[in-house]
Symmetry: D2
Subunit: 337 residues, 4 copies
Amino acid sequence: MIVIMKHDATTAQIANMTARIEGMGCTTHLSQGEERTIIGVIGNGRPIDREQIERMSGVERAVAVLRPFKLASREFHPQDTVVPINGISIGGKPLTIIAGPCSVESRAQLLETAEAVQQAGAHVLRGGAFKPRTSPYSFQGLGEEALRLLAEARSLTGLPIITEVISPELVPLVTTYADILQVGARNMQNFALLHAVGESQRPVLLKRGMMATMEELLMAAEYILSHGNQRVILCERGIRTFENYTRNTLDLSAVPMLKQLSHLPVIVDPSHATGKWELVESMSRAAIAAGADGLIIEVHPRPEEALSDGAQSLKPGRFAALVESLKPIAEAVGRTL
Amino acid sequence: MIVIMKHDATTAQIANMTARIEGMGCTTHLSQGEERTIIGVIGNGRPIDREQIERMSGVERAVAVLRPFKLASREFHPQDTVVPINGISIGGKPLTIIAGPCSVESRAQLLETAEAVQQAGAHVLRGGAFKPRTSPYSFQGLGEEALRLLAEARSLTGLPIITEVISPELVPLVTTYADILQVGARNMQNFALLHAVGESQRPVLLKRGMMATMEELLMAAEYILSHGNQRVILCERGIRTFENYTRNTLDLSAVPMLKQLSHLPVIVDPSHATGKWELVESMSRAAIAAGADGLIIEVHPRPEEALSDGAQSLKPGRFAALVESLKPIAEAVGRTL
Amino acid sequence: MIVIMKHDATTAQIANMTARIEGMGCTTHLSQGEERTIIGVIGNGRPIDREQIERMSGVERAVAVLRPFKLASREFHPQDTVVPINGISIGGKPLTIIAGPCSVESRAQLLETAEAVQQAGAHVLRGGAFKPRTSPYSFQGLGEEALRLLAEARSLTGLPIITEVISPELVPLVTTYADILQVGARNMQNFALLHAVGESQRPVLLKRGMMATMEELLMAAEYILSHGNQRVILCERGIRTFENYTRNTLDLSAVPMLKQLSHLPVIVDPSHATGKWELVESMSRAAIAAGADGLIIEVHPRPEEALSDGAQSLKPGRFAALVESLKPIAEAVGRTL
Amino acid sequence: MIVIMKHDATTAQIANMTARIEGMGCTTHLSQGEERTIIGVIGNGRPIDREQIERMSGVERAVAVLRPFKLASREFHPQDTVVPINGISIGGKPLTIIAGPCSVESRAQLLETAEAVQQAGAHVLRGGAFKPRTSPYSFQGLGEEALRLLAEARSLTGLPIITEVISPELVPLVTTYADILQVGARNMQNFALLHAVGESQRPVLLKRGMMATMEELLMAAEYILSHGNQRVILCERGIRTFENYTRNTLDLSAVPMLKQLSHLPVIVDPSHATGKWELVESMSRAAIAAGADGLIIEVHPRPEEALSDGAQSLKPGRFAALVESLKPIAEAVGRTL
């Protein structure tokens, strides 16, 4: 850490700060410029709280030298993490396509979709059982019944299943059924939930909050990793901006940036990001070209009857054509599909 | 709702849409302009899902005529809601000042602060027991021990206490101690938690998420109200923007806007919004001038030793002076302090 | 336009509004719901000012049915616009690569770069002569001297040249030299400048402002088109968000969205968007996969000595390799390079 | 400046960087931590370009120790700047109220408004002659005719006048008539215009761009100051965020923050920030309570007939009542009105 003192900081304030830092077991380097005194802090291995330093008197600001995440960082773990899941794996050379309906609505709808996405080449089946909805009056999901239907779809198709968990006390139940636990964007900083999935024995797909920085996403991953679960998959799904022709703004530069900062796999969700099925196809191709490890795409046999987010769902035929169109792009960037 | 059809929508698509809407028990009004056909929907009292309409073929967009919140709206409840709490009340002519440390750190720290803020004129004591922290390596709060200390501080000073609850399963425990439950900004859309506090018998202070629109804040309030708890207090605490000289951007125009849209009381948190104690005083005065029903302010006897957010905490002496300076402003806007 | 009256609008207010709209030569459709009266406005061909309607008493809000841009819209001009420029064209099946230094710094630097980008396959040479800089103390460009060097580079390589014009009175001078005029992001709403380039006889590359919506970008294009210049090329170059690991957030979903709304070509600038050369390559590939008509990329022989924006510049060797890597992606989306 | 080298920076890269910095006439301080090498740079008085340092090989990032603005900074000029204008002054103990219509529409409209705002206690008359409008089809202002009418209104009322200048070549014309030149939000980074008003002999009201950080606002002020004009007044008028119940988000914390960073006066524009006259009154009171040096408010005798921005204009009667309501708040914060 580097501490920049105010231009009118007194000698006593500087001495006080130096003593305080050394009291934490760190050593200091003093650099007295014409306009500012700067104190370099050389750590003892434990993280120092930047805010605690900044509130000392005479301090203008403190600058962290190291990123605040460690287990999630590529410096700590230089090789790409590959997450194995029931016969497939996420993060290696082969890309992973996750597809299925936003919500599980009925046995017929789920099984029809599951078979369609499997035939089109999907590797994992998605489907919401517990839905976080902005309005208390909207459809909240079928709950455990949906989990049972997802398990039946897995038996039928052989596809591993992913579903969202929205509360710590639901983790044991959802873990009974799901191959991958999804933490949704609105829960990215639900620390009680991060703690719970960190202690579970399932891979976790962690979605970036719609107003979360990449650093905050990696800190949320750090929560899960630090509770013992190393199988974390990051997911970019659009951030909130002032633009309103699209629902959110898909931040594809997050893909190469996150992969530079971290060893964790990065998946892209073009359906929630754009909110418009017409944009899903081109954003899927762009995501693969940007270096993503896979996609999570909403598919519904009859989007106009969907109980949630139909506007962003592809019909099975378009989804199959999309997967085909991804193959030459995957090859162009050295991946397989 | 108003449905705007695409400029090339076919007669069949228009007929299909009309039939669908009428199948929901609504009546329709067709208006055929030169460039677009527009379908007015007259409801049957039940809300219509705008997204479900928008995914029908031939639709360009659907526009909601009514706001999506009902119980929280001033149309539904024209008079201001006043929330009574152990002898005080929030939302009437007298302003409410909530003050105390960000986190409860020790018995001595809490009791010293409690006495100081009470003498300075605060009406409610705040103090964090369970802290949602961005980093898993930061201080996470003293938990139930902090709740016991808060209860002791209440006995000593007579001040009602408010503390944050971060998980549905903690609601029973926190309710045992606290007079007001706080739902923090990161949990504003933790719907399982909103459900749980909606069923509790305690007033709830609901903080606006740093990424949340006013409409989403009112929808989160709607969750609590619709689960039976009518004692909801809204809190503006700054939103995330591109500006970085302040931690967040305090949106004071939300105060009159929310009071126009809703009957619920609105409190302002200048400490978290700005992240800098030097700005807390002027923003407190501005909030009262803007029409807020009260303030929630961080006070710490020794901010430079605080375990969380000390940079934004006032010392007791400055807090007392601040409360004094608010009085003529309260009077100028027809309130008392 | 649709006018939604307040729930307590009086009969007189409704009659007054109807009379006013009809006084504009429009016809009205009244729809009296249980909770709101809605007035449909059927136009006379001239645009109605939504704000003027909204300020009438009794109005809650007015909703525009048609987009505010016309000449830029695909409805008005269904075929893709192709802009011919000295032997090449932008917007057809072949992609266009624009490359060169951020600023023209010297004859040697420019000519070396021009030859390198031409050999690597670029179609247009870029280079700044007049630089808009945040600080008055930064390098402001070589001015007319740079224009002369650009013309020399064109003679040498045969590449058409593009350079930024930052003020209406510079338009005649820049037009003397440049094949394409660039309007920068900070000037996207400099209406005097839009007017001037609209009257010039040169194609215009119009960059999206970093805080401009797509609608505002298309309205800025409308200024140029409505002053008689039909050769407008749109450019997405990143928008400002809360994220700070990248300089701006490249909004690639703007590519398919703009092409759906408008007939104008869309180019992507990955260099300014990310501010980091390490991200330029993957974002270039993603932009082509997303359907962009071309790229504008900063190339500098010695980025560490560049007088502006070197951190985002590619060296010629990497640029050449990048162009090669784009070819299979171009082919995968039905384009040529 | 502080240079943080990458964790794998080579000895040669560190030596190269040190040599480069010393070649600029600066001295260096090397601090070799366990995980990073840090180079402190002690300047020779001239600013160093941070970006130029960041693009050197082996560098992770460079951190500026000093703010990039100098003439605008309070460190350089500790006392508040007071700008005298024809008998009044902006920035001292007395507050300044600027009022008038968004656009000058007719002689009758302007003179009626001018007399009304003068009687209500305004100190300066505002009125737009050249209007920057998002749409080329909207009213663009009366131009020089409006300037003549403003001069007539000044003769009648004695109020100094302020009007916007939107292009460098209009500066001489506008200077002939106006007492204060306004640079609008969309032109805050129109550097050719900043240069021109910097060389003029008139005070300048510089509005914060809706996408501009406070640092960028102060850098824009630095342009004007560095071209010789010391009479700059800053104006906060709302920034663009994701919230859409208000037109922009008024950032009142910018008032105390700017006054801490800079010696320049700060005025608030609640009319453009909110876009709704119902919010103007409470935001005006909040701005004064926050420490603003004055307000700029839109007043129109018949807002429903205004040619621009009527929705945010107050009628003269409400404006007069507002000015009255500001007096006790001004007094509460040690100012006069």
